[in-house]
């Protein structure tokens, strides 16, 4: 009876052990990826900083701020959401936090009579919104782990098209900002139209333009530069989200590994107790049997009993040592 229980426990422990090995491996992989992802965030900074600086100088040089990407709409009837989530799960609340924030924002828009359009990155985002019956304009997947600039470019093109056709009057960008290893937060920011203050276009109007020569006209350069700026910003958001994803996964997998360890300790304890119980019962049976026999004064049988008793005691002793 007790032997059966012991076998079941042993099987459970070995299955927990296998799971623990997997979660531990995932934790280590995620940890190494965070560092890489952080490096990519850093490597992308010079470009976006320089692009911003050039835009500021252009605006100062009289480029004007009448580009479609800078024109604030009079009325917003439809808002596009660019949502950046992960392709894979097992990363704690990472996906749900972003997706819920977007769902709340859409609900708030609806109460103001605004429609929505969804441009999604990550399998989990596509699954979430498709399951809840939202209409998805475009969904991208396959690069949440390690986004490339070309991925950002493709996404930005889709979004810019929506915006420039006038199908949406505003674009919001929802992603997870990477603050530090231990802290990431969901951000929902205005992506288009660009805020003149954000790119320094308003501050620069006071300056004399720094005496720049332009080739071609400032307005034309600005027209080429603003889409690049939008791409760079989306790329930065993708990179930060990917760093956050790895950090969230590392934490989730560390918790899972710790839980597996606890579970294993508890089950091992229960299993050893069950084993000892079964041995004790066995000894009791032998002893009571031997007492019944000794009244018959049967020498040959007594030897056999003494031998089997010794074996049981040895097993019990080694068991105590284990525990």
């Amino acid at each position: 009876m007790a032997g059966g229980q012991e076998r079941i426990l042993r099987r459970r422990i070995s299955s927990i052990d296998a799971t623990k090995k997997i979660t531990r491996a995932m934790e280590l992989i995620a940890a190494s990826r965070i560092v890489k992802a952080q490096g990519r965030v850093k490597a992308a900074k010079p470009y976006s900083e320089k692009v911003t600086a050039v835009i500021t100088n252009l605006a100062g040089g009289g480029a004007g701020v009448d580009h479609p990407l800078l024109t604030q709409p009079e009325q917003v009837s439809r808002v596009a959401y660019v949502v950046i989530a992960a392709d894979r799960g097992l990363c704690g609340g990472y996906n749900n936090n972003v997706l819920r924030a977007v769902e709340r924002a859409i609900a708030a828009d609806k109460s103001q009579g605004r429609d929505y359009a969804l441009v999604l990155s990550g399998k989990k985002a596509a699954g979430y919104f498709a399951f809840r019956g939202y209409e998805v304009h475009a969904a991208y997947e396959g690069f949440s782990d390690q986004p490339n600039y070309s991925d950002a470019k493709a996404m930005a093109e889709t979004v810019a098209e929506l915006f420039e056709n006038g199908e949406v009057q505003q674009v919001q960008l929802a992603y997870t900002r990477f603050l530090s290893m231990g802290s990431q937060e969901v951000a929902v920011e205005q992506f288009m139209p660009l805020e003149p203050s954000e790119i320094g276009a308003d501050a620069a109007e006071d300056t004399d333009g720094g005496g720049y020569e332009f080739e071609p006209e400032p307005a034309e350069i600005l027209g080429r530069l603003l889409p690049r700026y939008a791409e760079a910003r989306l790329y930065a958001a993708l990179l930060e989200s990917s760093a956050s994803e790895h950090a969230a996964r590392q934490r989730a997998m560390k918790a899972a590994t710790d839980n597996a360890e606890d579970l294993k300790t508890n089950l091992t304890r229960i299993m050893n107790r069950a084993r000892q119980d079964s041995i004790t019962t066995e000894i009791m049976e032998i002893v009571s049997g031997s007492e019944a026999m000794s009244q018959d004064d049967n020498d040959g049988l007594e030897d056999v009993i003494a031998q089997s008793l010794e074996g049981s005691y040895a097993a019990l002793a080694s068991d105590r040592n284990d525990a």
């Binding site: 470009y47 692009v51 005496g211 020569e213 080739e215 071609p216 350069i221």
Partner: protein
């Protein structure tokens, strides 16, 4: 002067140069030390940097250049150094672009692809 070539994913070149030649949408332009402040949009074309240890040749697929305070910054989301160019790929791109152009002479995209392929071949041959 200090020259930086920056792509969205990394800083590709950073160092001291005596001369920079690049191509804006209005034509080729060269920068020497203490050039006047300048902002230009780059066309598809070859860019050459006269660095201390020799001339660096690159194929640039559009971008921007800013010159100010004796520093040249080239921003490009498609820049390839001569040694990174896959000539076979460029050749096959060139062929398919020429076919597209033969079918439709006004195909702007194919014309750009052709120009980019030609630039890559030219730069890899020069490098």
């Amino acid at each position: 002067m200090q020259v930086e070539l920056v792509s969205p994913e990394a800083v590709l070149f950073s160092g001291e140069c005596s001369q920079v030649v690049t191509r804006t949408v209005d034509g080729d332009i060269a920068f020497l030390d203490n050039h006047a402040p300048f902002i230009g949009a780059l066309d598809i074309g070859q860019t050459q940097l006269w660095a201390d240890d020799g001339v660096v040749s690159l194929a640039i697929n559009g971008g921007f250049v800013e010159v100010s305070g004796n520093a040249v910054t080239i921003l490009s989301d498609g820049a390839l150094a001569a040694q990174d160019i896959d000539v076979a790929e460029a050749q096959s791109d060139l062929q398919s672009a020429e076919q597209a152009l033969a079918a439709d002479a006004d195909d702007v995209e194919a014309a750009a692809t052709k120009k980019w392929a030609e630039t890559r071949i030219q730069v890899s041959e020069a490098g």
